[in-house]
């Protein structure tokens, strides 16, 4: 089959499992950005397992696959956990994250691992690459869709708006940007460090169809993605309002978790909280 479509209950369970995977990966690696992964768990769960993306894990570069590009490359552990659960590679490989010789690099490197579409980690680049894929569909006359997940702080990069302008200019309706709007960047609240608001108006001004959603509500995400697939005359963006560190109370409460893994002890507590979700 193309992709995977699980029930609502299964999706919720899987989201919990993915959080646990990310926690274990980053704790074992003693580094990484777990809180940036946690805010995007439901978004990726719905895309990969809610019947939105069409893909074949055993033919990862199938020409007509839908593309997912993780522009906020620091959420790589989540992408790897999702790809493993989707069957792109064995789950045991997750524990090699960030170790010598492993293709599970700290930030994604294109094509060294099945399902990893782009090299990202220097922020701002994914939407342009996604636009390239979207334009290729038009040139080849095939009909896949391209989804690009951006961080909120990442939208401070000028290249994001270069790409947005061009996507709108070329009227690529098969391109959807998703912003994981968790309201925090590396050094503090986005609104304090470099405000993005009025954010919706910016995307609208650039010619995008804009939809906002609670980025942790699986049903709402399913509905939103279904609605965006019906937009035929312009690119679209889903502004997903999320919580950084979602699922672990003491991580949610402290943005300084951005660039670090949890200690063994913190991870134990986090695990208990995630299991109660």
């Amino acid at each position: 089959m193309e992709g995977m479509r699980l029930s609502l209950c299964e999706l919720k369970n899987l989201a919990r499992e993915l959080r646990l995977d990310v926690l274990e990966m980053t704790t074992r690696a003693k580094s990484g950005h777990p809180s940036s992964c946690f805010s995007a768990v439901e978004i990726l769960t719905v895309l990969y397992f809610g019947g939105i993306l069409r893909y074949h894990p055993d033919d990862p570069w199938w020409e007509e696959r839908d593309r997912f590009i993780l522009s906020k490359g620091h959420a790589a552990p989540l992408l790897y956990a999702v790809l493993a659960r989707a069957g792109f590679f064995p789950r045991e490989r997750l524990w090699t994250l960030r170790s010598l010789g492993s293709p599970l690099q700290g930030h994604p490197v294109a094509r060294i691992l099945p399902g990893v579409e782009a090299t990202t980690g220097s922020l701002g680049q994914g939407l342009s690459v996604g636009l390239g894929h979207a334009l290729a569909a038009r040139l080849r006359n095939v009909s896949y869709r391209v989804y690009v997940l951006l961080g909120d702080g990442e939208c401070q990069e000028g290249q994001v708006w270069e790409a947005a302008m061009a996507a709108s200019h070329f009227r690529v309706s098969n391109l959807t940007a998703i912003v994981d709007y968790n309201k925090f960047q590396e050094t503090g609240p986005v609104a304090r460090e470099m405000n993005l608001e009025p954010f919706r108006a910016k995307w609208e001004a650039f010619g995008f169809y804009v939809q906002e959603v609670d980025g942790h509500n699986i049903e709402a995400l399913l509905e939103a993605f279904a609605a965006l697939q019906k937009v035929v005359d312009r690119p679209s963006v889903l502004i997903a309002h999320t919580v950084k560190g979602k699922g672990v109370s003491f991580v949610e409460a402290d943005y300084t978790f951005h660039g670090r893994a949890l200690t063994e002890e913190e991870a134990k507590k986090a695990r208990e909280e995630i299991l109660c979700l």
């Binding site: 020409e63 094509r111 390239g132 334009l135 290729a136 290249q159 270069e162 790409a163 061009a166």
Partner: protein, 336 residues
């Protein structure tokens, strides 16, 4: 006197015109080639494709970062994108996008940096690509080609299409004289000996190849036999050709239309230092930006003429002779 005249080279067309024609031929031959313009197609001559194949020509506007990112996406979908802009704008504005998207991803993207060097002339130093080879040379995986005439430009494009992976090809506004006959051998990573000589070797690239041939003619009149090598590929570097020059001629002058730091000369010097150290001299831009002026005036003012190459050749020959004498003296001292 125009470059190439002393060597009797036929006049050529501006390299960018040759590029435009070659790119069009490549598009006719290879349907998977697409051309991405940074709104300079009329200046780089990539616009030849816009007229012939409008659907395969995309102007991404004045936004180089996005330009390169889009090319990366297209490359991963099986297209062979040629990204064309001024070398300075392309490399300086989109360096990180080239680093991650092209070089690190080993994407099949062909970057063409036009207006390399100082000979774009009157538009001045803001537009000149005098650091381009150092910048692109700093990126692992990227093949770097520096054609010196219309024929080698076509060969460079053709080989960029038939070889998978990232490429940078340097183009220019200058009317470079014809160096190669149709059908000459021109292969990636294989430098060409254009003139044989035993006294020293001039290694050159781009416009400096014709200048080196002029220098060869001047030196010949004085009884100095210079070997002239066109080192058209900066990566992969033809180490064997460089070692051979060092071993067989014992003195090397490298000439390039680029800053001396990080360009062809410093790469050649590393090979010489590691293999067969010999006296070397370098013709290129010292640590400076240049002025706006006529191209030929600039070449003269910044010491990039055949006379400058000749002067360096004489210097290096003297150094070679001193070194040889030194060796003779030291070897004649009895060991205690």
């Amino acid at each position: 006197m125009p470059v190439g005249e002393k060597a009797g080279l036929p006049r050529g067309k501006p390299l960018r015109d040759a590029f435009g024609e070659a790119l069009l031929r490549i598009c006719e031959q290879y349907p998977q080639v697409v051309v991405l313009d940074g709104d300079l197609g009329n200046s780089t001559k990539a616009e030849t494709v816009r007229k012939a194949f409008p659907e395969r020509f995309l102007n991404l506007g004045i936004a180089e970062s996005n330009l390169v990112g889009v090319a990366v996406g297209l490359a991963f979908c099986g297209f062979i994108p040629f990204v064309v802009s001024f070398s300075s704008f392309l490399l300086c504005n989109a360096y990180d996008q080239i680093r991650l998207g092209v070089a690190m991803s080993r994407a099949n993207v062909k970057l063409v940096g036009s207006h390399g060097g100082i000979t774009l002339g009157k538009d001045g130093p803001t537009q000149m690509g005098i650091e381009d080879l150092a910048l692109v040379g700093g990126l692992p995986t990227c093949t770097i080609l520096i054609p010196c005439d219309a024929y080698s430009m076509y060969k460079a494009l053709e080989q960029a299409v038939t070889h998978e992976g990232p490429f940078f090809i340097r183009s220019s506004r200058y009317a470079m004289p014809r160096v190669y006959e149709e059908g000459s051998s021109w292969e990636i990573g294989k430098a060409n000996i254009l003139r044989e000589g035993k006294d020293l070797t001039i290694i050159a690239c781009g416009l400096m190849v014709a200048c080196a041939l002029d220098a060869w003619a001047e030196l010949q009149k004085e009884g100095i036999e210079a070997r002239v090598v066109d080192l058209h590929t900066l990566r992969p570097l033809d180490r064997a050709m460089i070692v051979k020059a060092a071993r067989e001629t014992g003195a090397i002058v490298v000439a390039e239309e680029h800053l001396l730091h990080g360009g062809v000369g410093s790469n050649v010097a590393r090979v010489v230092a590691e293999s067969y150290p010999c006296p070397m001299r370098f013709v290129g831009l010292e640590d400076t930006y240049t002025d706006s002026a006529d191209a030929d005036e600039l070449l003269e003012a910044y010491h990039l003429t055949s006379s400058d190459i000749v002067a360096k050749c004489k210097e290096v020959l003297e150094a070679k002779n001193v070194a040889r004498k030194g060796n003779t003296i030291s070897s004649s001292i009895p060991r205690s």
